[in-house]
Protein backbone atom coordinates (compact mmCIF):
# COMPACT_ATOMS: atom_id res chain seq x y z
CA UNK A 1 0.00 0.00 0.00
CA UNK A 2 1.36 3.39 -0.88
CA UNK A 3 0.67 6.98 -0.11
CA UNK A 4 -1.63 8.79 -2.46
CA UNK A 5 0.10 11.46 -4.53
CA UNK A 6 -0.84 15.06 -3.86
CA UNK A 7 -1.67 17.31 -6.77
CA UNK A 8 -2.85 20.85 -6.45
CA UNK A 9 -2.12 24.54 -6.75
CA UNK A 10 0.19 26.41 -4.46
CA UNK A 11 -2.28 28.36 -2.34
CA UNK A 12 0.41 30.37 -0.56
CA UNK A 13 4.19 30.58 -0.25
CA UNK A 14 5.47 31.32 3.26
CA UNK A 15 8.94 32.25 2.10
CA UNK A 16 10.28 33.36 5.50
CA UNK A 17 12.42 30.95 7.52
CA UNK A 18 11.42 29.88 11.06
CA UNK A 19 7.76 30.71 10.37
CA UNK A 20 5.50 30.42 13.41
CA UNK A 21 2.23 28.91 12.17
CA UNK A 22 0.26 30.47 15.01
CA UNK A 23 0.51 33.69 12.97
CA UNK A 24 -1.77 32.14 10.32
CA UNK A 25 -4.79 32.52 12.56
CA UNK A 26 -3.31 35.11 14.95
CA UNK A 27 -2.59 34.12 18.52
CA UNK A 28 -5.67 36.01 19.69
CA UNK A 29 -7.76 33.37 17.92
CA UNK A 30 -5.93 30.34 19.23
CA UNK A 31 -8.60 29.39 21.72
CA UNK A 32 -11.31 29.20 19.06
CA UNK A 33 -12.38 25.58 18.75
CA UNK A 34 -15.08 25.94 16.08
CA UNK A 35 -13.35 25.09 12.82
CA UNK A 36 -15.65 27.28 10.72
CA UNK A 37 -14.65 30.25 12.87
CA UNK A 38 -10.98 29.31 12.60
CA UNK A 39 -11.23 29.07 8.84
CA UNK A 40 -12.74 32.56 8.71
CA UNK A 41 -9.82 34.14 10.56
CA UNK A 42 -7.10 32.16 8.77
CA UNK A 43 -4.72 34.46 6.90
CA UNK A 44 -6.83 37.49 7.77
CA UNK A 45 -3.69 39.43 8.78
CA UNK A 46 -1.79 38.54 5.57
CA UNK A 47 -4.27 37.95 2.78
CA UNK A 48 -7.87 38.99 3.43
CA UNK A 49 -10.17 36.90 1.26
CA UNK A 50 -7.71 34.00 1.22
CA UNK A 51 -10.40 31.42 2.01
CA UNK A 52 -12.30 32.18 -1.20
CA UNK A 53 -9.19 31.51 -3.29
CA UNK A 54 -8.53 28.00 -1.98
CA UNK A 55 -9.60 24.93 -3.93
CA UNK A 56 -9.79 21.49 -2.36
CA UNK A 57 -6.41 19.79 -2.80
CA UNK A 58 -4.36 22.99 -2.82
CA UNK A 59 -1.01 22.93 -1.05
CA UNK A 60 0.98 25.35 1.09
CA UNK A 61 4.67 25.97 0.52
CA UNK A 62 6.98 26.89 3.40
CA UNK A 63 10.57 27.95 3.98
CA UNK A 64 13.19 26.46 6.26
CA UNK A 65 12.24 25.31 9.76
CA UNK A 66 8.54 25.81 9.01
CA UNK A 67 6.49 25.53 12.22
CA UNK A 68 9.11 26.97 14.60
CA UNK A 69 7.85 28.15 18.00
CA UNK A 70 5.02 26.42 19.81
CA UNK A 71 3.17 24.71 16.98
CA UNK A 72 -0.43 24.68 18.21
CA UNK A 73 -3.02 22.79 16.21
CA UNK A 74 -5.68 25.39 15.23
CA UNK A 75 -3.81 26.88 12.23
CA UNK A 76 -3.61 23.65 10.25
CA UNK A 77 -7.09 22.58 11.36
CA UNK A 78 -8.29 25.77 9.72
CA UNK A 79 -6.22 25.13 6.60
CA UNK A 80 -7.51 21.57 6.23
CA UNK A 81 -11.04 22.85 6.63
CA UNK A 82 -10.43 25.23 3.73
CA UNK A 83 -9.28 22.31 1.59
CA UNK A 84 -5.50 22.46 1.97
CA UNK A 85 -4.14 18.94 1.43
CA UNK A 86 -0.60 19.30 2.75
CA UNK A 87 2.51 21.44 3.16
CA UNK A 88 5.68 21.25 1.07
CA UNK A 89 8.56 23.06 2.80
CA UNK A 90 12.32 23.46 2.67
CA UNK A 91 12.37 21.84 6.14
CA UNK A 92 10.13 21.53 9.18
CA UNK A 93 10.48 22.21 12.86
CA UNK A 94 10.30 18.78 14.56
CA UNK A 95 7.46 19.57 16.97
CA UNK A 96 5.26 20.80 14.14
CA UNK A 97 6.23 17.84 11.98
CA UNK A 98 5.35 15.24 14.64
CA UNK A 99 2.14 16.98 15.59
CA UNK A 100 0.70 17.33 12.09
CA UNK A 101 1.77 13.88 10.86
CA UNK A 102 -0.19 12.59 13.88
CA UNK A 103 -3.21 14.42 12.47
CA UNK A 104 -2.70 12.51 9.21
CA UNK A 105 -1.72 15.72 7.41
CA UNK A 106 0.95 15.21 4.73
CA UNK A 107 4.15 17.23 5.20
CA UNK A 108 6.76 17.05 2.48
CA UNK A 109 10.36 18.10 3.01
CA UNK A 110 11.68 19.38 -0.31
CA UNK A 111 14.77 21.61 -0.37
CA UNK A 112 14.59 24.20 -3.15
CA UNK A 113 10.79 24.41 -3.27
CA UNK A 114 10.49 28.10 -2.29
CA UNK A 115 12.62 29.30 -5.20
CA UNK A 116 10.94 26.91 -7.63
CA UNK A 117 7.29 27.85 -7.24
CA UNK A 118 4.95 30.81 -7.05
CA UNK A 119 1.47 31.16 -5.69
CA UNK A 120 -0.99 29.61 -8.14
CA UNK A 121 1.49 27.17 -9.74
CA UNK A 122 0.34 23.57 -9.96
CA UNK A 123 2.58 20.98 -8.33
CA UNK A 124 2.49 17.25 -7.70
CA UNK A 125 4.02 15.30 -4.83
CA UNK A 126 4.98 11.85 -6.13
CA UNK A 127 5.87 9.75 -3.11
CA UNK A 128 6.85 6.66 -5.08
CA UNK A 129 9.16 8.58 -7.40
CA UNK A 130 10.44 10.62 -4.44
CA UNK A 131 9.95 14.00 -6.04
CA UNK A 132 7.87 17.14 -6.24
CA UNK A 133 7.02 18.19 -9.81
CA UNK A 134 6.23 21.67 -11.07
CA UNK A 135 3.63 20.78 -13.68
CA UNK A 136 3.89 24.01 -15.64
CA UNK A 137 7.67 24.19 -15.89
CA UNK A 138 8.42 20.49 -16.11
CA UNK A 139 10.76 20.86 -13.14
CA UNK A 140 11.31 18.14 -10.54
CA UNK A 141 12.86 18.39 -7.09
CA UNK A 142 13.74 15.42 -4.86
CA UNK A 143 11.78 15.08 -1.63
CA UNK A 144 13.16 13.71 1.61
CA UNK A 145 11.62 10.27 2.29
CA UNK A 146 9.48 9.77 5.39
CA UNK A 147 10.49 7.51 8.28
CA UNK A 148 8.64 4.21 8.61
CA UNK A 149 6.34 5.31 11.46
CA UNK A 150 5.55 8.62 9.75
CA UNK A 151 4.72 6.89 6.51
CA UNK A 152 2.53 4.32 8.22
CA UNK A 153 0.77 7.07 10.17
CA UNK A 154 -0.06 8.97 6.97
CA UNK A 155 -1.11 5.79 5.19
CA UNK A 156 -3.44 4.92 8.04
CA UNK A 157 -4.93 8.43 7.99
CA UNK A 158 -3.56 9.66 11.32
CA UNK A 159 -2.37 8.63 14.74
CA UNK A 160 -5.49 6.88 15.99
CA UNK A 161 -5.99 4.47 13.08
CA UNK A 162 -2.22 3.95 13.00
CA UNK A 163 -2.10 3.10 16.71
CA UNK A 164 -5.05 0.75 16.34
CA UNK A 165 -3.05 -1.19 13.75
CA UNK A 166 0.17 -1.04 15.73
CA UNK A 167 -1.28 -2.01 19.07
CA UNK A 168 -3.23 -4.82 17.47
CA UNK A 169 0.10 -6.09 16.14
CA UNK A 170 1.72 -5.90 19.58
CA UNK A 171 -1.11 -7.80 21.22
CA UNK A 172 -0.77 -10.45 18.51
CA UNK A 173 2.90 -10.94 19.40
CA UNK A 174 2.42 -11.26 23.15
Amino acid sequence: MGLRNLRGRVAWVFDEDDFDIDLIIGIRNIKITDVDELAKVAMADRAPGFAATVQRGDLLVGGRNFGYGHPHYPAMRAMRHLGIAGVVAESFSPGFFRGEIAMGFPLVTCPGIVAAVQRGDEIEVDWAAGCVRHLGRGLSLPLQPLGAAERETLEAGGLIPYLKRRIGRTIGVQ
Binding site: D17, L23, G26, T33, P94, A149, K164, I167
Partner: protein, 426 residues
Amino acid sequence: MLAARVPQTMTEKILARASGRDHVRPGEDIEARPDFVISYDFPGYTDVFFREAREEFGVERVSSPERFVLFIDHMVPAAAPKEEELHRVTRAWGSAQGVPVHERKGIGHQVSAELGYATPGAFVVHFDGHVSQLGAFGVYAFGARKGVLEAYVSETLALTVPPTVRVVVTGTLQPGVMARDVFHHLVRVMGPSSCAFKAVELAGPVIDAMSIEGRQTICGQAMFLGATTMLIAPDARTLEWTRGRSRLDLEPVWPDADAAYERVVTVDVSSLEPIVVVPPSPANTRDLKDHLGLQVHTGYLGSCASGRLEDLRAAATVLRGRQVKPGFQLHVVPTSQTIMAQAAREGLLETLVEAGAFISSPTCDYCYGRIATMADGQRAVSTGTLNTPGRMGSVDSEIYICNAAVVAASAIEGRIADPRPYLGVA
Protein backbone atom coordinates in the same frame (compact mmCIF):
# COMPACT_ATOMS: atom_id res chain seq x y z
CA MET B 1 33.68 -14.64 23.79
CA LEU B 2 32.23 -11.32 24.84
CA ALA B 3 30.33 -9.38 22.25
CA ALA B 4 32.19 -6.32 21.08
CA ARG B 5 31.18 -3.31 23.15
CA VAL B 6 29.30 -0.71 21.11
CA PRO B 7 30.20 2.83 22.17
CA GLN B 8 27.06 4.87 22.80
CA THR B 9 25.85 8.37 23.58
CA MET B 10 23.60 9.01 26.60
CA THR B 11 20.56 9.04 24.34
CA GLU B 12 21.46 5.67 22.86
CA LYS B 13 22.04 4.11 26.29
CA ILE B 14 18.76 5.35 27.71
CA LEU B 15 16.74 4.35 24.66
CA ALA B 16 18.48 0.95 24.51
CA ARG B 17 17.48 0.17 28.09
CA ALA B 18 13.94 1.47 27.58
CA SER B 19 13.52 -0.74 24.50
CA GLY B 20 15.11 -3.79 26.09
CA ARG B 21 18.16 -3.88 23.85
CA ASP B 22 21.92 -3.99 24.42
CA HIS B 23 22.43 -1.00 22.20
CA VAL B 24 20.65 1.10 19.60
CA ARG B 25 21.91 3.16 16.70
CA PRO B 26 20.72 6.47 15.26
CA GLY B 27 18.00 5.95 12.69
CA GLU B 28 16.84 2.70 14.25
CA ASP B 29 13.06 2.37 14.77
CA ILE B 30 12.35 1.15 18.30
CA GLU B 31 9.48 0.72 20.71
CA ALA B 32 10.54 2.08 24.08
CA ARG B 33 8.70 1.90 27.39
CA PRO B 34 8.52 5.33 29.05
CA ASP B 35 9.55 5.31 32.69
CA PHE B 36 7.27 8.30 33.20
CA VAL B 37 4.43 9.85 31.23
CA ILE B 38 3.97 13.46 32.30
CA SER B 39 1.17 15.81 31.23
CA TYR B 40 -0.47 19.04 32.31
CA ASP B 41 -4.14 19.46 31.68
CA PHE B 42 -4.99 21.56 28.68
CA PRO B 43 -8.10 21.57 26.48
CA GLY B 44 -7.61 19.50 23.34
CA TYR B 45 -4.83 17.47 24.95
CA THR B 46 -5.50 15.65 28.21
CA ASP B 47 -9.30 15.77 27.99
CA VAL B 48 -9.02 14.33 24.48
CA PHE B 49 -6.47 11.68 25.52
CA PHE B 50 -8.75 10.55 28.34
CA ARG B 51 -11.69 10.26 25.95
CA GLU B 52 -9.82 8.69 23.04
CA ALA B 53 -8.12 6.08 25.24
CA ARG B 54 -11.53 4.94 26.44
CA GLU B 55 -13.65 5.36 23.32
CA GLU B 56 -11.20 4.55 20.54
CA PHE B 57 -9.05 1.95 22.26
CA GLY B 58 -11.26 0.58 25.01
CA VAL B 59 -8.56 1.35 27.57
CA GLU B 60 -10.37 1.87 30.86
CA ARG B 61 -7.19 1.90 32.96
CA VAL B 62 -3.73 3.03 31.88
CA SER B 63 -1.06 0.38 32.17
CA SER B 64 1.22 0.81 35.22
CA PRO B 65 -0.41 4.01 36.52
CA GLU B 66 2.58 4.65 38.81
CA ARG B 67 4.40 5.80 35.67
CA PHE B 68 1.88 8.60 35.10
CA VAL B 69 1.62 12.04 36.64
CA LEU B 70 -0.57 15.05 35.90
CA PHE B 71 -0.02 18.69 36.73
CA ILE B 72 -2.54 21.49 36.88
CA ASP B 73 -0.39 24.55 36.17
CA HIS B 74 -2.16 26.32 33.30
CA MET B 75 -5.38 28.24 34.00
CA VAL B 76 -4.43 28.51 37.68
CA PRO B 77 -6.44 30.03 39.18
CA ALA B 78 -9.34 29.42 36.82
CA ALA B 79 -10.96 32.51 35.33
CA ALA B 80 -13.98 30.87 33.72
CA PRO B 81 -16.26 27.97 34.67
CA LYS B 82 -15.12 25.87 31.71
CA GLU B 83 -11.50 26.12 32.91
CA GLU B 84 -12.41 24.84 36.34
CA GLU B 85 -14.50 22.13 34.66
CA LEU B 86 -11.41 20.97 32.76
CA HIS B 87 -9.49 20.75 36.04
CA ARG B 88 -12.37 18.80 37.57
CA VAL B 89 -12.23 16.29 34.70
CA THR B 90 -8.48 15.94 35.30
CA ARG B 91 -8.87 15.37 39.04
CA ALA B 92 -11.59 12.78 38.45
CA TRP B 93 -9.53 10.93 35.86
CA GLY B 94 -6.48 10.88 38.14
CA SER B 95 -8.55 9.63 41.03
CA ALA B 96 -10.17 6.85 38.97
CA GLN B 97 -6.83 5.78 37.48
CA GLY B 98 -4.70 5.99 40.59
CA VAL B 99 -2.59 8.68 38.92
CA PRO B 100 -1.41 11.62 41.07
CA VAL B 101 -2.64 15.07 40.12
CA HIS B 102 -0.49 17.91 41.47
CA GLU B 103 -2.02 21.33 41.39
CA ARG B 104 -0.91 24.73 42.61
CA LYS B 105 2.54 23.32 43.33
CA GLY B 106 4.16 25.15 40.44
CA ILE B 107 4.99 24.64 36.81
CA GLY B 108 5.01 20.91 36.11
CA HIS B 109 8.36 20.82 34.34
CA GLN B 110 9.98 22.12 37.54
CA VAL B 111 7.77 20.30 40.04
CA SER B 112 8.32 16.98 38.26
CA ALA B 113 12.05 17.41 38.95
CA GLU B 114 11.36 18.30 42.60
CA LEU B 115 9.18 15.18 42.93
CA GLY B 116 11.84 12.85 41.54
CA TYR B 117 10.48 12.17 38.06
CA ALA B 118 13.84 13.49 36.85
CA THR B 119 15.54 10.25 37.80
CA PRO B 120 18.96 10.18 36.06
CA GLY B 121 18.88 7.65 33.23
CA ALA B 122 15.08 7.71 32.85
CA PHE B 123 13.09 7.88 29.61
CA VAL B 124 10.23 10.38 29.92
CA VAL B 125 7.50 11.55 27.55
CA HIS B 126 5.12 14.49 27.64
CA PHE B 127 3.18 16.27 24.90
CA ASP B 128 5.00 19.54 25.65
CA GLY B 129 8.58 19.80 24.41
CA HIS B 130 9.78 21.98 27.30
CA VAL B 131 9.92 18.75 29.33
CA SER B 132 13.40 18.53 27.79
CA GLN B 133 14.58 20.45 30.85
CA LEU B 134 14.62 17.16 32.76
CA GLY B 135 17.68 16.51 30.60
CA ALA B 136 19.56 18.67 33.12
CA PHE B 137 19.43 15.57 35.32
CA GLY B 138 20.60 13.10 32.66
CA VAL B 139 17.06 12.17 31.58
CA TYR B 140 15.92 11.59 28.00
CA ALA B 141 12.69 13.59 28.06
CA PHE B 142 10.88 14.62 24.90
CA GLY B 143 7.62 16.18 23.79
CA ALA B 144 5.70 13.84 21.48
CA ARG B 145 2.81 16.27 20.92
CA LYS B 146 -0.36 14.25 20.29
CA GLY B 147 1.83 11.19 19.87
CA VAL B 148 1.91 10.88 23.65
CA LEU B 149 -1.53 9.29 23.29
CA GLU B 150 0.35 6.11 22.40
CA ALA B 151 1.73 5.98 25.95
CA TYR B 152 -1.82 6.28 27.31
CA VAL B 153 -3.04 3.27 25.33
CA SER B 154 0.00 0.97 25.27
CA GLU B 155 3.10 0.26 27.34
CA THR B 156 5.47 1.56 24.72
CA LEU B 157 6.00 4.37 22.29
CA ALA B 158 7.43 3.95 18.78
CA LEU B 159 10.25 6.30 17.93
CA THR B 160 13.32 6.63 15.80
CA VAL B 161 16.63 6.87 17.67
CA PRO B 162 17.95 10.38 16.95
CA PRO B 163 21.58 11.12 16.15
CA THR B 164 23.35 13.09 18.88
CA VAL B 165 25.07 16.45 18.49
CA ARG B 166 27.58 17.15 21.24
CA VAL B 167 27.78 20.81 22.20
CA VAL B 168 30.79 21.77 24.31
CA VAL B 169 30.57 25.17 26.00
CA THR B 170 34.02 26.51 26.87
CA GLY B 171 35.49 29.61 28.43
CA THR B 172 34.35 31.58 31.46
CA LEU B 173 31.09 33.46 31.82
CA GLN B 174 31.42 37.17 32.50
CA PRO B 175 29.62 38.56 35.54
CA GLY B 176 26.02 39.42 34.72
CA VAL B 177 25.77 36.76 32.02
CA MET B 178 23.24 34.05 32.88
CA ALA B 179 22.26 30.61 31.60
CA ARG B 180 19.48 32.22 29.58
CA ASP B 181 22.08 34.22 27.64
CA VAL B 182 24.10 31.08 27.01
CA PHE B 183 21.14 29.25 25.48
CA HIS B 184 20.14 32.05 23.12
CA HIS B 185 23.78 32.49 22.16
CA LEU B 186 23.84 28.83 21.11
CA VAL B 187 20.85 29.54 18.85
CA ARG B 188 22.69 32.53 17.38
CA VAL B 189 25.91 30.60 16.76
CA MET B 190 24.45 27.25 15.71
CA GLY B 191 21.13 28.26 14.11
CA PRO B 192 17.49 27.70 15.10
CA SER B 193 17.17 24.45 13.14
CA SER B 194 20.77 23.32 13.54
CA CYS B 195 19.80 20.31 15.66
CA ALA B 196 16.51 19.40 13.96
CA PHE B 197 15.35 15.90 14.89
CA LYS B 198 18.55 15.37 16.91
CA ALA B 199 19.38 14.98 20.56
CA VAL B 200 21.92 17.38 22.05
CA GLU B 201 24.42 16.33 24.67
CA LEU B 202 25.55 19.48 26.44
CA ALA B 203 28.97 19.49 28.09
CA GLY B 204 32.07 21.52 28.77
CA PRO B 205 33.59 23.53 31.61
CA VAL B 206 30.88 26.21 31.55
CA ILE B 207 28.18 23.58 32.04
CA ASP B 208 30.26 21.79 34.69
CA ALA B 209 30.47 25.04 36.64
CA MET B 210 26.80 25.91 36.11
CA SER B 211 24.06 25.50 38.72
CA ILE B 212 21.37 22.84 38.33
CA GLU B 213 18.92 25.69 37.78
CA GLY B 214 20.96 27.11 34.92
CA ARG B 215 21.16 23.68 33.33
CA GLN B 216 17.36 23.33 33.55
CA THR B 217 16.99 26.70 31.84
CA ILE B 218 19.17 25.68 28.91
CA CYS B 219 17.88 22.12 28.44
CA GLY B 220 14.26 23.28 28.59
CA GLN B 221 14.67 25.44 25.50
CA ALA B 222 16.15 22.67 23.32
CA MET B 223 13.26 22.91 20.84
CA PHE B 224 14.48 26.33 19.72
CA LEU B 225 17.62 24.69 18.35
CA GLY B 226 15.27 22.25 16.63
CA ALA B 227 16.41 19.51 19.00
CA THR B 228 14.23 16.65 20.15
CA THR B 229 15.77 17.02 23.57
CA MET B 230 18.97 17.98 25.37
CA LEU B 231 20.85 16.07 28.08
CA ILE B 232 23.72 16.74 30.44
CA ALA B 233 25.78 13.92 31.92
CA PRO B 234 25.17 13.63 35.67
CA ASP B 235 27.93 14.92 37.93
CA ALA B 236 28.30 15.13 41.71
CA ARG B 237 25.92 18.08 41.80
CA THR B 238 23.23 16.17 39.87
CA LEU B 239 23.52 13.09 42.03
CA GLU B 240 23.40 15.18 45.19
CA TRP B 241 20.25 16.93 43.95
CA THR B 242 18.45 13.76 42.92
CA ARG B 243 19.48 11.65 45.92
CA GLY B 244 16.44 10.91 48.02
CA ARG B 245 14.20 12.32 45.28
CA SER B 246 14.55 9.80 42.44
CA ARG B 247 11.46 7.67 42.04
CA LEU B 248 13.20 4.78 40.33
CA ASP B 249 16.30 2.80 41.14
CA LEU B 250 18.03 3.33 37.82
CA GLU B 251 21.68 3.42 36.87
CA PRO B 252 22.57 6.92 35.69
CA VAL B 253 24.13 6.92 32.24
CA TRP B 254 27.21 8.69 30.95
CA PRO B 255 28.33 8.92 27.35
CA ASP B 256 31.14 6.62 26.27
CA ALA B 257 34.36 8.47 25.51
CA ASP B 258 34.35 6.93 22.04
CA ALA B 259 30.61 7.45 21.39
CA ALA B 260 29.77 8.44 17.82
CA TYR B 261 28.35 11.95 17.48
CA GLU B 262 26.80 13.34 14.37
CA ARG B 263 29.02 16.31 15.05
CA VAL B 264 30.73 18.08 17.90
CA VAL B 265 30.30 21.84 18.20
CA THR B 266 32.46 23.90 20.53
CA VAL B 267 31.19 27.32 21.55
CA ASP B 268 33.38 29.65 23.60
CA VAL B 269 31.35 32.06 25.72
CA SER B 270 34.16 34.10 27.30
CA SER B 271 33.24 37.23 25.35
CA LEU B 272 29.47 36.69 25.61
CA GLU B 273 27.50 39.64 26.95
CA PRO B 274 23.82 39.71 27.91
CA ILE B 275 21.47 39.21 24.97
CA VAL B 276 17.92 40.05 23.99
CA VAL B 277 15.81 37.96 21.66
CA VAL B 278 13.83 40.32 19.48
CA PRO B 279 10.42 39.62 17.90
CA PRO B 280 9.03 37.73 16.11
CA SER B 281 10.73 34.46 17.05
CA PRO B 282 13.36 32.82 19.27
CA ALA B 283 15.59 32.67 16.19
CA ASN B 284 16.53 36.35 16.69
CA THR B 285 19.25 36.60 19.34
CA ARG B 286 20.87 40.05 19.49
CA ASP B 287 23.31 41.84 21.78
CA LEU B 288 21.55 43.66 24.60
CA LYS B 289 23.82 46.66 24.09
CA ASP B 290 22.29 47.32 20.66
CA HIS B 291 18.78 47.59 22.10
CA LEU B 292 19.35 49.62 25.27
CA GLY B 293 16.93 52.49 25.75
CA LEU B 294 13.96 50.98 23.93
CA GLN B 295 10.82 51.87 25.90
CA VAL B 296 9.11 48.93 27.64
CA HIS B 297 5.85 48.88 29.57
CA THR B 298 5.82 45.56 31.32
CA GLY B 299 8.21 42.90 32.56
CA TYR B 300 7.70 39.21 33.24
CA LEU B 301 10.10 37.23 35.39
CA GLY B 302 8.95 33.63 35.52
CA SER B 303 8.10 30.56 33.36
CA CYS B 304 9.45 27.03 33.12
CA ALA B 305 12.57 28.47 31.48
CA SER B 306 13.39 31.04 34.15
CA GLY B 307 11.88 32.07 37.51
CA ARG B 308 14.08 29.95 39.76
CA LEU B 309 16.06 31.06 42.78
CA GLU B 310 19.09 32.35 40.91
CA ASP B 311 16.77 34.39 38.71
CA LEU B 312 14.94 35.81 41.73
CA ARG B 313 18.25 36.49 43.50
CA ALA B 314 19.58 38.37 40.47
CA ALA B 315 16.41 40.44 40.25
CA ALA B 316 16.46 41.17 43.98
CA THR B 317 20.09 42.27 43.80
CA VAL B 318 19.23 44.69 41.00
CA LEU B 319 16.11 46.01 42.74
CA ARG B 320 17.31 46.13 46.36
CA GLY B 321 16.70 49.64 47.67
CA ARG B 322 15.45 50.79 44.27
CA GLN B 323 12.01 51.29 42.77
CA VAL B 324 10.21 50.05 39.71
CA LYS B 325 9.50 53.05 37.47
CA PRO B 326 5.99 54.39 38.16
CA GLY B 327 3.56 52.97 35.61
CA PHE B 328 5.79 50.02 34.74
CA GLN B 329 4.22 46.61 35.46
CA LEU B 330 6.72 44.12 36.86
CA HIS B 331 5.31 40.61 37.31
CA VAL B 332 7.42 38.13 39.25
CA VAL B 333 6.21 34.53 39.23
CA PRO B 334 8.41 31.97 40.99
CA THR B 335 8.45 28.68 39.07
CA SER B 336 7.30 26.53 42.00
CA GLN B 337 5.94 26.78 45.53
CA THR B 338 9.17 25.28 46.85
CA ILE B 339 11.15 28.00 45.10
CA MET B 340 8.71 30.68 46.29
CA ALA B 341 8.98 29.54 49.90
CA GLN B 342 12.77 29.56 49.74
CA ALA B 343 12.69 33.02 48.15
CA ALA B 344 10.57 34.14 51.09
CA ARG B 345 13.05 32.69 53.60
CA GLU B 346 15.89 34.49 51.86
CA GLY B 347 14.00 37.80 51.97
CA LEU B 348 13.90 38.01 48.17
CA LEU B 349 10.13 38.43 48.03
CA GLU B 350 10.28 41.24 50.56
CA THR B 351 12.93 43.03 48.52
CA LEU B 352 10.97 42.61 45.29
CA VAL B 353 7.66 43.71 46.83
CA GLU B 354 9.23 46.79 48.41
CA ALA B 355 10.68 47.69 45.03
CA GLY B 356 7.17 47.61 43.55
CA ALA B 357 7.01 44.16 41.94
CA PHE B 358 3.68 42.37 41.63
CA ILE B 359 4.32 38.83 42.85
CA SER B 360 2.12 35.92 41.89
CA SER B 361 2.01 32.33 43.07
CA PRO B 362 3.37 29.87 40.48
CA THR B 363 1.33 29.52 37.28
CA CYS B 364 2.03 29.19 33.57
CA ASP B 365 -0.52 31.85 32.75
CA TYR B 366 1.70 34.93 32.43
CA CYS B 367 3.81 33.28 29.75
CA TYR B 368 1.02 33.14 27.20
CA GLY B 369 -0.86 36.33 28.02
CA ARG B 370 -3.81 34.72 29.74
CA ILE B 371 -3.27 37.28 32.48
CA ALA B 372 -1.21 40.48 32.54
CA THR B 373 -2.36 40.84 28.95
CA MET B 374 -0.75 43.58 26.86
CA ALA B 375 -2.66 46.11 24.73
CA ASP B 376 -1.77 47.42 21.26
CA GLY B 377 1.57 49.17 21.15
CA GLN B 378 2.85 47.83 24.46
CA ARG B 379 6.19 46.12 24.79
CA ALA B 380 7.50 43.59 27.32
CA VAL B 381 10.83 42.37 28.56
CA SER B 382 10.30 38.74 29.47
CA THR B 383 11.96 35.57 30.66
CA GLY B 384 9.06 33.59 29.17
CA THR B 385 9.62 30.91 26.60
CA LEU B 386 8.51 32.58 23.42
CA ASN B 387 8.22 35.99 21.74
CA THR B 388 5.71 35.40 18.95
CA PRO B 389 3.63 38.56 18.39
CA GLY B 390 0.39 38.22 20.34
CA ARG B 391 1.63 35.62 22.78
CA MET B 392 1.32 38.02 25.69
CA GLY B 393 -1.68 39.95 24.44
CA SER B 394 -2.42 42.09 21.41
CA VAL B 395 -0.80 41.06 18.12
CA ASP B 396 0.45 44.62 18.06
CA SER B 397 2.41 44.19 21.29
CA GLU B 398 6.03 43.05 21.39
CA ILE B 399 8.09 40.69 23.54
CA TYR B 400 11.84 40.99 24.08
CA ILE B 401 13.24 37.89 25.77
CA CYS B 402 16.15 38.42 28.15
CA ASN B 403 17.61 37.23 31.44
CA ALA B 404 16.04 37.95 34.84
CA ALA B 405 18.48 40.73 35.74
CA VAL B 406 17.71 42.54 32.49
CA VAL B 407 13.99 42.38 33.30
CA ALA B 408 14.70 43.90 36.73
CA ALA B 409 16.96 46.66 35.43
CA SER B 410 14.47 47.51 32.68
CA ALA B 411 11.72 47.75 35.31
CA ILE B 412 13.70 50.46 37.10
CA GLU B 413 14.31 52.49 33.96
CA GLY B 414 11.14 51.77 31.96
CA ARG B 415 13.36 50.98 29.00
CA ILE B 416 15.60 48.09 28.08
CA ALA B 417 18.53 48.45 30.45
CA ASP B 418 21.86 46.84 31.25
CA PRO B 419 21.71 45.22 34.70
CA ARG B 420 25.44 45.11 35.25
CA PRO B 421 25.81 48.58 36.80
CA TYR B 422 23.05 47.62 39.29
CA LEU B 423 24.79 44.32 39.98
CA GLY B 424 27.99 46.20 40.70
CA VAL B 425 29.87 44.36 37.98
CA ALA B 426 30.29 47.11 35.41
